[in-house]
């Protein structure tokens, strides 16, 4: 059983209130951190091996050490709470149930980075969560953990929440900063990176909610102790939001030593697939990462057991692997249609493309239309190759990774489920009334290695 570092106290009665949270040991990391040198905190985070939980998995300590520190310029910490990736809802759970944990992590991280004004950019639809955070900030301030001269240390810090307006693209860190500045949420062209020129043209660190929350146990227990949890470069615990055809959808905190099979089938986590159905496929890390058929999900192409960690999930590259991503775990049972499923994603990315760069702006819409055609019984064989061509020329050629995120699911669907596309095309009428497959994919397939 995983030792919980973040969600241990979520079910304590009244934990949303400062007093209860404090009584349960909250805000100790602030007291400890304020007595440390700023660089030593960065060092601890480096030692912990913590990797960004927003999707890319970039080592957080390293990111912090890149922050430019020119004379006379303020530095900023921005928390990315935009969480709009389909299938991902772990940050909401954390902020909603234990808001002070994020505030505590924000204070420690702000101190470490020298940010006296920090922001939480929160998804617009999470309006009630934003209220919860505002209340937590107020309470922390009343108790001297925010504001001027925190705990007599001489460190001043204010935290503001800023609500987004409902655009997925504002989760991309530079679009987020533009939006925070009050402009259209268009991703910036990099370089310069936020660490050099971020919000208000000042050096900025953008981190995910879970990343910042994880700083609390790292300071409390030391980076060393944190790095001992997990395996390899996947240290600490990870929040997984599981959904789809499983018995127990929800947010789970795991240490990254369990297998995917255990995660899906054990009662401690997802509790298996309902209605006696069999597993067909799964998107292990949020809608942007490649989908995997059951056989490649449970075992890698090399025949090893696939584990719930960064390295194992990406084993085999995109040919036979996927990614940890943001931890949005979407399970599909044998009744689900991959074509329709991918159409839903294609529509999402088309809708959310900011339209700045031509491949993503035009390509996402085109892919959606081709998917509509196939799903609606009008597909032709050439459409499959066309889809492949469209996604291939979007990937890597855009300003921000949304283009890649739109391309990858399409590529993976065709790579692993091409016969399902062909079935739609060969059975134009049947595909309108029923889904393809029905048990076909529940049995392990031959590994497809390209």
């Amino acid at each position: 059983m995983t030792k919980k570092l973040l969600l241990d106290k979520v079910h304590v009665e009244g934990i949303r209130n400062f007093d209860v949270y404090r009584r349960e040991g909250g805000y100790q990391s602030v007291e400890k951190a304020l007595k440390m040198q700023q660089d030593d905190i960065v060092e601890e985070v480096k030692k912990s091996g913590l990797r960004g939980r927003g999707g890319a998995g970039f080592p957080t300590g390293l990111k912090w050490s890149f922050l430019a520190k020119p004379e006379g310029l303020s530095r900023y910490l921005v928390c990315n709470a935009d969480e709009s990736e389909p299938g991902t809802f772990k940050d909401r759970y954390l902020m909603e149930l234990i808001p002070h944990l994020l505030i505590e992590g924000m204070i420690v991280s702000s101190y470490a980075l020298g940010s006296t004004t920090s922001y939480i950019y929160i998804r617009g639809e999470y309006d009630w969560v934003s209220d919860i955070l505002d209340k937590a900030i107020d309470e922390a301030k009343q108790n001297g953990f925010l504001g001027k001269n925190i705990l007599g240390s001489g460190f001043d810090c204010e935290i503001y929440t800023h609500r987004g307006a409902g655009a997925y693209i504002c989760g991309e860190e530079t679009a987020l900063l533009e939006s925070l500045e009050g402009k259209r949420g268009l991703p910036r062209i990099k370089p310069p990176f936020p660490a050099v020129k971020g919000v208000w043209d000042c050096p900025t660190v953008v981190n995910n909610v879970e990343t910042i929350a994880a700083v609390v146990p790292i300071i409390n227990d030391g980076g060393e102790a944190y790095s001992k949890i997990g395996v390899g470069r996947s240290t600490g615990t990870k929040l997984i939001s599981a959904c789809g055809n499983i018995n127990k959808p929800g947010v789970y905190e795991i240490d990254m030593t369990i297998s995917v099979e255990e995660f899906i089938y054990s009662d401690e986590y997802c509790g298996g697939i309902p209605n006696g159905k069999r597993l067909k496929a799964c998107i292990p890390g949020g809608s942007s990462v490649p989908i995997l058929p059951a056989n490649l999900l449970l075992k890698t192409a090399k025949g090893e057991t696939r584990m719930m960690n960064y390295e194992s999930l990406s084993d085999g590259g995109f040919a036979t692997g996927s990614m940890m991503g943001s931890g949005g775990f979407i399970v599909l049972d044998e009744d689900q249609c991959v074509v329709r499923h991918t159409l839903t994603l294609a529509r999402f990315y088309h809708h959310e493309s900011c339209g700045q760069c031509s491949p993503c702006r035009e390509g996402t819409g085109w892919m959606e239309k081709v998917f509509q055609k196939i799903e609606n019984g009008k597909g032709e064989m050439k459409d499959i190759d066309l889809l492949w061509d469209i996604q291939r020329r979007i990937e890597g050629n855009t300003i921000c990774p949304l283009g890649d995120a739109a391309a990858w699911p399409v590529a993976a669907a065709i790579r692993h489920f091409r016969d399902e596309f062909e079935w739609h095309i060969n059975n134009r009428e049947e595909c309108l009334i029923r889904n393809y497959g029905l048990a076909h994919y529940a049995d392990p397939l031959e590994a497809v290695v390209s």
């Binding site: 655009a167 693209i169 259209r184 062209i189 088309h350 809708h351 959310e352 493309s353 900011c354 339209g355 700045q356 760069c357 031509s358 491949p359 702006r361 035009e362 390509g363 996402t364 819409g365 085109w366 239309k369 066309l386 061509d389 291939r392 020329r393 890597g396 050629n397 855009t398 300003i399």
Partner: protein, 390 residues
């Protein structure tokens, strides 16, 4: 500072050049010349912050720098990538680049109306040129194209949003040249729309420059609409004393009539720099001065662009040498009918009806000079063995 004058070496498609630190790869390529310069649909050197969007200028970086010679994994936008010392870049020599660029052109065209036959921009349109170089002969897009209603924005400019490629140049013009920007991009993705804010008309002394920067026919000159085709017009450099702008323009004439006035363009299709300043022109010069007498004409404009408007004004092209001399080893070609002699047809001293057989050049030669005739006939026999005699 000495550091700022440092020169960086960059090799593009095998040609090496030294450029000042801070130069972008695209500008370095432009310094080398047209052969290696990537196409640029959104970057505009005179507009700060432009570029990076259309992705037509993508290039492959085969070596990042002398210090770190690793290749870059992704193609990069050359208009927004700064040269590093020892960088090696592949543009036309990279298959990846050509493939990606073909893709970008396809993307740009799927929602484009392709209404060139009725578009005022035809002939000087960068998308036409790009499509010509990189496009497919047909389209693989079989769905309805995105359309918008045509809109007059202000008294002088017409917006044809359906043709827009969302390069954002006009937005930068409004930001950087006019006092208050009242138009911008609304909505997002492929349904983005350029529009004026709450239907405010764009009415500003320098708004007409948006027409000049628009790479396609999305923003056109209402005073020139459907008046003519650009390739029928004769561009002339001209100037006048103007209290608002530099007054240095190109007039597009047919006969004595001035059809339209534009700023002067450089080989990249951008507004020229004159005396160190970008020669933007004001709306008075552009829209109100349509009489030849308003202007002092300097002479024909040299248009140096690979596009239809260059027709008949090739600045760089040299007439190829006449190969006839070479093939005939110095002999003069014998023409069946010398065009100069034919004029004698008009002199009625010969009655053509009395000639046996068809008339030839010799038919018209003065009959008194029999000697010449004999000689001409001899020559003719020599060359094409044609026995028929007058």
């Amino acid at each position: 500072m000495a550091e700022e004058q440092q020169l960086f070496k960059i090799t593009i498609d095998g040609i090496t050049i030294e450029v000042p630190q801070g130069t972008t790869v695209l500008n370095a390529a432009r310094m080398i010349g047209k052969e290696v310069a990537p196409p640029a649909m959104c970057y505009y050197s005179k507009l700060e912050g432009s570029g990076g969007k259309c992705r037509t200028c993508l290039v492959e970086v085969a070596a990042g720098s002398t210090k770190d010679p690793r290749p870059m994994p992704k193609l990069v936008a050359s208009c927004r990538t700064v040269v590093m010392d020892g960088m090696i870049v592949k543009n036309k020599t990279s298959e990846r680049v050509i493939d990606a660029r073909n893709g970008i052109v396809e993307y740009l065209l799927i929602n484009h109306p392709l209404d060139c036959p009725i578009c005022d921009q035809a002939g000087e349109c960068h998308l036409q040129d790009l499509g010509y170089d990189h496009g497919l002969a047909g389209t693989r897009y079989e769905f309805k194209r995105r359309t918008f209603v045509r809109e007059d924005i202000g008294p002088y400019v017409q917006l044809h949003m359906t043709r827009c490629i969302l390069c954002y140049r006009c937005v930068y013009v409004a930001d950087q040249l006019t006092d208050h920007r009242v138009h911008g991009i609304l909505d997002r993705g492929d349904h983005s729309d350029i529009s004026t804010y709450v239907s405010k008309a764009i009415d500003n002394d320098f708004s007409g420059n948006m027409i000049d920067v628009c790479p396609v026919g999305a923003l056109t000159d209402r005073t020139y609409r459907f008046k003519n085709r650009v390739w029928f017009l004769k561009p002339m450099d001209a100037h006048r004393d103007c209290d608002k702008c530099c007054g240095k323009v190109t007039l597009w004439n047919r006969g004595d009539e001035v059809y339209r006035v534009t700023a002067r363009k450089d080989p990249w299709g951008e507004v020229q720099e004159i005396d160190g300043k970008t020669a933007w022109i004001c709306n008075t010069c552009r829209f109100e001065k349509k009489k030849a007498s308003d202007w002092t004409i300097e002479g024909p404009t040299k248009i140096d662009r690979h596009s239809v408007i260059s027709a008949n004004h090739y600045a760089e092209k040299v007439q190829p040498p006449d190969p006839l001399n070479k093939v005939l080893f110095g002999r003069k070609p014998l023409l069946l009918m010398d065009i100069h002699e034919v004029s004698k047809v008009n002199t009625p001293d010969i009655d053509l009806s009395k000639i046996p057989g068809p008339a030839t050049s010799t038919t018209f030669i003065d009959r008194d000079e029999a000697k010449d005739i004999e000689q001409a006939e001899a020559e003719r026999l020599l060359i094409n063995d044609h026995k028929e005699l007058p």
